[in-house]
């Protein structure tokens, strides 16, 4: 009787509180899961962004402390109590230390070079430590990627790069990064989420087989062989994925100058259109884009002035690296709905 009357009296009260409760709940969830979306500019790991919990070793440590406490009680070991309490205090202290190791670091997103689909995009990140304390063993784990570790000395900024595989052409964002640390004792793990707004352009994967460039004669009436651009050595540029191994300057690589690609000049007046229409239907959209990507690379290596025709997109002919990037970008964004960032 009493209970039911109490329940009936409480039910309007419950409905009155339900809405704020739901709102609070969703706020808590938002905070807990840190679903704040990508953020532009640098991200400061302020205190409320940082989570901290005992690690697996921390749990074992707590268990060991209980065991030691039992021993100290059972044998009335005063120094056993002293040791147990010292270690317990050390554990509490390590929470502060681990937290401190992560707090107020600034994550500054840097550049990212375009990559071909299937390769790893290397997102540059600077970790800036404005404070007077050295930070050690800061780890960055991208979703499904490989963790990188770095130390950040006081009042310094350290750059590091996170490798994330680019599955398909278009735009790749690093997604939610977990920045975490177990330093100094490994008993606690402090972490924060950061989702920097950085866009990596992902070109279509160039076709592996070397398909000869479409004959420019068909379009411009100028006879040019595929290999003619490889006759006059013009200089070196830095290696890009997709460059033919035959054109890598291995001697320079042996001298320790890194990978460089030999560039050859063809005739400047040679002009070529790389046309969607020239690729067979059977390849499908992605296959045709792959072939075009291969042609763009080869044409640039050949030093030809080339243009690109896609349904709805036309890049007028021009030679050089900038044209190469322009064309690949056009291929990357073809019908993807994404706009170049």
């Amino acid at each position: 009787m009493v209970l039911s009357s109490l329940a009936s009296r409480l039910s309007p009260l419950a409905s009155q509180f339900a809405a704020p409760y739901r709102a609070a709940r969703s706020r808590i969830d938002r905070w807990r899961l840190q679903t704040r979306g990508a953020e532009t500019g640098s991200i400061v790991l302020v205190q409320r962004r940082i989570f901290i919990l005992p690690s697996r070793y921390g749990m074992i440590y707590i268990g060991a402390l209980f065991l030691m406490l039992t021993g100290a009680v059972n044998y009335s070991l005063s120094l056993g109590f002293v040791l147990t309490f010292l270690l317990a205090a050390l554990g509490v202290n390590s929470i502060l230390h681990t937290f401190r190791n992560l707090a107020h670091l600034k994550i500054v997103p840097g550049r990212v070079q375009p990559v071909f689909a299937g390769d790893h995009a290397h997102f540059m990140l600077a970790i800036d430590n404005p404070g007077a304390l050295d930070r050690f063993s800061i780890a960055i784990t991208p979703g499904g990627g490989v963790t990188v570790y770095t130390d950040v000395p006081a009042r310094q900024s350290v750059s590091t790069s996170v490798a994330i595989q680019a599955p398909r052409r278009g735009i790749l964002m690093p997604g939610r990064l977990t920045i975490w640390t177990n330093y100094p004792l490994g008993l606690c793990r402090a972490w924060a989420y950061a989702e920097p707004e950085v866009r990596c352009v992902v070109y279509p994967r160039p076709e592996a087989a070397h398909i000869p460039l479409p004959l420019p004669a068909a379009h411009a009436g100028l006879g040019i062989a595929h290999g003619s651009g490889q006759e006059d050595f013009a200089g070196l540029r830095s290696y890009h994925p997709g460059d033919s191994p035959r054109q890598i300057a291995w001697k320079a690589a042996a001298r320790g100058q890194g990978l460089l690609t030999k560039q050859f000049s063809g005739r400047i007046d040679t002009e070529m259109w790389l046309d969607w229409q020239d690729t067979p239907d059977a390849l499908g959209v992605e296959g045709r884009l792959s072939r075009l990507a291969r042609w763009v690379i080869d044409a640039q290596i050949a030093g030809i002035s080339f243009g690109l025709r896609l349904p709805g997109v036309t890049v007028p002919p021009e030679p050089g690296k900038a044209q190469h990037d322009r064309c690949l970008e056009a291929l990357a964004f073809y019908q993807s709905g994404a706009q170049p960032g």
Partner: protein
Amino acid sequence: MTATLDRLHSRHVGWLLLALVMVVAPHVERVPWWVTLLALTLLGWRIYIMHYGLQLPRKWLLLLVAAGALGGVYISYGRILGRDPGITLLLIMLSLKLLEMAVLRDAMILIFICYFLVITNFLYSQSIATALYMLCVVWMITASMIGFQFRTSQPGYKHQLRSAGIMLLQSAPLMLVLFVFFPRIQGPLWGMPQDAFAGRSGLSDEMSPGSVSRLILSDAIAFRVSFESKIPPVNQLYWRGPVFWDFNGYTWSARRAPYLAVREYRALSDPINYTVTVEPHSRRWLFALDLPARIPERSLITSDFQLLHQTTVTNRFRYEMTSHLNYRNNAELGSYESRRALQLPPNTNQRSAELANKMRRAAGDERTYISSVLEMFRKQNFFYTTTPPPLRENPVDEFLFSTRAGFCEHYASAFAVLMRSAGIPARIVTGYQGGEVNTVGNYLTVRQADAHAWVEVWLINDGWVRIDPTAAVSPARIEAGVMAAVPASETLPMLRQEYAWLREARLTLDSISNSWNQIVLGYSQDRQRQIMRQVGIEDATWRSMATFMVVATGAITLVLAALMLRKLRALRPDPVVIAYTRFCRRLARRGLTRHASEGPDAFCRRACSARPELAPAIGSISALYIRLRYGDATQNAAQALDATKLRREVADFKA
């Protein structure tokens, strides 16, 4: 990938090995020799593997060694469970784990075992020296734990030690709070292994020739006493312990006497109040000056004035006592007691019995007889020695008629037999006599070496009267302690020999040690309540204590957090911002003020058009500033160069 990152760096393993050796070292003297050998072999093996980068041994091989070691422990100890075999097994497992340690997880487990081993050392010693040493060990273990957390760089050992030291120091206040306020439970929680408190020297529950004199070589402390007023003269300090009634011709023993409800005695002097801190001796009895006039908490008293604790004394603890040094114990002697106090085994020590009869007849009354026996000890050729010749079947006869050299138990035993043979009820009281006054701490230290045995005889008008036959032979024993009484040629522990400076140092050390015992080791439930009362919490329950503890813990942690989280943000603003602000200020002095909403680029354009003669400098500074603030922060070297350039240009800038 994670596995390779978690692979252990050999330098860190080296640190851990060092910490491990440090924590195991004190156990070496307590475990069988083959365990030390095995552990050293396994340690050497691990170092060898580490040095040459070899593979760790197969698991089955380690299991085989483990099984063999288990058998070895059983053979050495006759059992697997218990304190000593348990610790031995722990050591063996630890050494084997060394050869299994491949990844971080193994190392962390090993570290936790190391911490646990620290506590096992306290089972054997809790002295200040042990505490200090173990503090160093904990420091080392913590330092090696820090080392394992470094993933990219390899810090110097100094860094590790410093970090660990700072962390431990920061933990000290919280440790203190927990130590003082953590609700103490009186142990043990379950039955202890048989050997939990083995190997402690002290009085035993029977007395035979040699049982007291073996204690003379022990410098171990039996108990310490602090008196409320002046310490009484040493020759009156008879610390009463076990009382023996039953004699089998060789050994004195006793069934427990009944507990006493009403104590019948008459005090002839003022009561003396004092506090005794007794060392654990694994027996029930407590010690008090003759005659105890009060019963400590959780204790009982028997009809022959033995104080017995409810349980065996396995912890050091304090009790308040009151005694009357001068008394008349005029209890009636019941027939049962009288029979026990006159009992002598038939057909033993017969020459002594004859001697007793002869002397008793010659003496006339009982008191004269007692005096004549003491006179015999004094006048005839009796010696007081700590190394008496061994006695066999009729020890009293042999002692009285041939060897004539003995320690207090020989004299007490012979005297009691002579009394009983003459029809005077007598019993043996063992305990301690005298003690050493510590002038530094103003208390009395009683050591095992002060163990003593004397006799009580029952006289018709006076009841039980204490007679100390040793005093007749060697008055120095009673007046000045056993040190003065024994010939110089006999070996005694070095510490007991008297050099003035040595004595001073020893007294100071013991005084420190006493404070350590009282404050740290003797900290108990009772002391905890006392402190809570001082804080203002009367009648502290575990709940109020826990609340207090949690509040204090929170407060300390907050203070520590506030202190620690100070230096995280930049103390000074960015030098780039400082330089640019300075530049703006110089322009402002010439009437060109940057508006709050104006970006550096817009301001640059306005400034250039207003002061075209300064345009190159303004443009350069603005461009540098924009690049530094909004450019690619990952280009460290370029940024640092730009920052220097900006500062220089601003310094040269004259508006």
